[in-house]
């Protein structure tokens, strides 16, 4: 009797966890639906067309790809603010080298550049013990500076990058995002590494006492976040047809909003890449809808800022934060 009673309470707990904004998927899904309903009713003839939904999904793929790496960083309790600038450096270097080396080697080098930037973030964070938001804030401006330096202020036309284009009827980027999703979902949910990432976000002290290889894990996730930012930069550059030094400016804001709105709180441990997919589509639809209903870019910025702070407010685990600074 007691056992069935317990099982029932646990079922309720499990159901509550699913509905919860933190790590749960239902509230993010509802906000996504709300965004579609709102713009769908405001401007049905332009928002709810096949072409526009495709535009939304393609844009969401960029946010999702960059967001997947960032999701792991956030689950581990840290943050990476440098993703937009790292994307720019990777995109510009790849575009510049594509002229000399051809598209495929240039893309691989672009990814490596993203990885190096992420690794540097990780090294400073882990070994010099600088908080991640400061390290990556510094990288945000450093990488942007490097992007301007190598481009000399010019933009580079992107030639024949295979990341652009279609496979069958669907844009290639959607397949890239889907493949990356699968790999990172497995990593986060089915391997010990994923559990360790959550453990660090849950309690770094316990993770250390249990003997988890903290430095190796942190370095790996920042490296990974650099690589996914690099992939994002390649997609952005390919889609524009040109790599400009201001590529991906304030991309970090959209990506962080996508991750948090998806239900991965900044307090760490909970959340998933699945949530980030939903958050990315929601933010992409929001940006798209705001343009379609004809709001100017300044108003769009204000609205996105409000959405970010709302998402954080709902998702934050205040019990976990003793002191707010």
């Amino acid at each position: 009797m007691a056992v069935t009673h317990l099982a029932a309470t646990d079922r309720i707990l499990a159901a509550r966890a699913k509905f919860s904004f933190r790590g749960g998927i239902l509230i993010p899904l509802m906000s996504l639906l709300l965004i579609f309903l709102m713009f769908g009713s405001l401007s049905p003839s332009r928002f709810l067309t096949v072409t526009n939904v495709e535009v939304i999904l393609t844009q969401a793929a960029v946010l999702a790809v960059v967001g997947f790496g960032l999701t792991l960083v956030i689950i581990s309790g840290s943050i990476d603010l440098s993703v937009g600038s790292v994307a720019a450096v990777a995109g510009i270097i790849a575009a510049k080298l594509a002229l000399v080396l051809g598209p495929v080697p240039a893309m691989l080098i672009g990814l490596a550049v993203g990885g190096v930037a992420g690794f540097v973030n990780g090294l400073v964070f882990v070994y010099l013990r600088v908080p991640s938001f400061l390290v990556t804030l510094a990288m945000l401006t450093t990488a942007r500076g490097i992007a301007y330096l190598i481009s000399d202020g010019e933009s580079f036309v992107v030639y024949g990058m295979p990341i652009l284009g279609y496979i069958g009827a669907y844009p290639t980027v959607v397949f890239v995002a889907a493949g990356l999703f699968l790999v990172l979902w497995l990593l986060l949910n089915k391997t010990a590494m994923g559990l360790y990432i959550r453990s660090i976000g849950g309690s770094e002290q316990i993770a250390r006492l249990v003997g988890l290889p903290l430095n190796r894990i942190k370095l790996s996730i920042f490296l990974l976040s650099g690589v996914t930012a690099g992939i994002g930069g390649l997609i952005l550059a390919s889609r524009q047809g040109a790599a400009t030094p201001n590529l991906g400016t304030s991309l970090e804001l959209d990506v962080i909003t996508a991750v948090v709105l998806g239900g991965t709180p900044l307090t760490g441990c909970v959340g998933n890449v699945t949530n980030t997919v939903i958050g990315a589509i929601a933010i992409s639809a929001l940006s798209n809808g705001l343009i379609i209903v004809g709001l100017t870019s300044d108003v769009q910025m204000i609205i996105k800022g409000v959405v970010l702070i709302l998402a954080i407010l709902v998702a934050l685990e205040r019990s976990k934060i003793g002191v707010i600074k």
């Binding site: 707990l13 966890a17 391997t191 959550r198 453990s199 849950g202 993770a207 249990v210």
Partner: protein, 276 residues
Amino acid sequence: MKDPSSASAPVVKMRNIEKRYGQVTVLRGMNLDVFKGEAVGIVGDNGAGKSTLMKILCGAVQPTAGEIHLEGKPVKFNSPHEARLSGIEIVYQDLAVIGHLTVTQNVFLGREETKRILGFKMLDNRRMEAAARKLIAGLDPMLEDRTRVSVDSLSGGQKQSVAVARAMAFGPKVMILDEPTAALSVEKIERMLTLIRTLKESGLAVILISHRLQDIMTVCDRVIVMKSGSLVRDLNVGTTDIDEIVRLMVSGGEMDAVPKATGAAWPDHAAPGPAA
């Protein structure tokens, strides 16, 4: 040696352990022996050095000087991980479990069972689940069917059971319990003490740090009294009482140095340290 298993060599032998932080000496010339199948209580006022001594034994802190022998072999632990691999487990009072992870994930944290799928090492959740159920059923029957829930939804005592389960999961030789009863209700304390008896009967060397002297008198075979980073006395529980232990904790043994028969008033400097 007064302990029952003095014929055999100690499982843990710590010799001349010293720990300095800059100018501050936390431990000086500390010795400790713990034998198989016995429970040793370590008592002392705050700052006596008991926690530091245990952190050294479990690899969380490295000693400035001194030696540790485990089953007769000299060992040196650079991290808690190395100590765990050698069979030394510690259960901390407050730093025990990660709230959002499930019972099973907490029990296996750092030592997950894996299986290879297409060459990749993936978690073997089914095997861990079964093992965790079996382990936890022996500790806390109420938890047997709750291995998949997140630890957040458990009570303080249940969380402690999960922490103990993690410590027991890989057949340790030495189990250190740091204030295991501090956060528990009276009824849960009884269960914890029973558990400690079971642990030592199964052949483990148990070290118990506790402020509750009555717990130590109930389950331990020996009591180590520490003060200011040194050993005051190694007492056999059967031949001492709480009064004597408290007296030694406060005085650091100085009072015993003066023959009682004289009945003379103690000079103030003979009883150093705060009495409170």
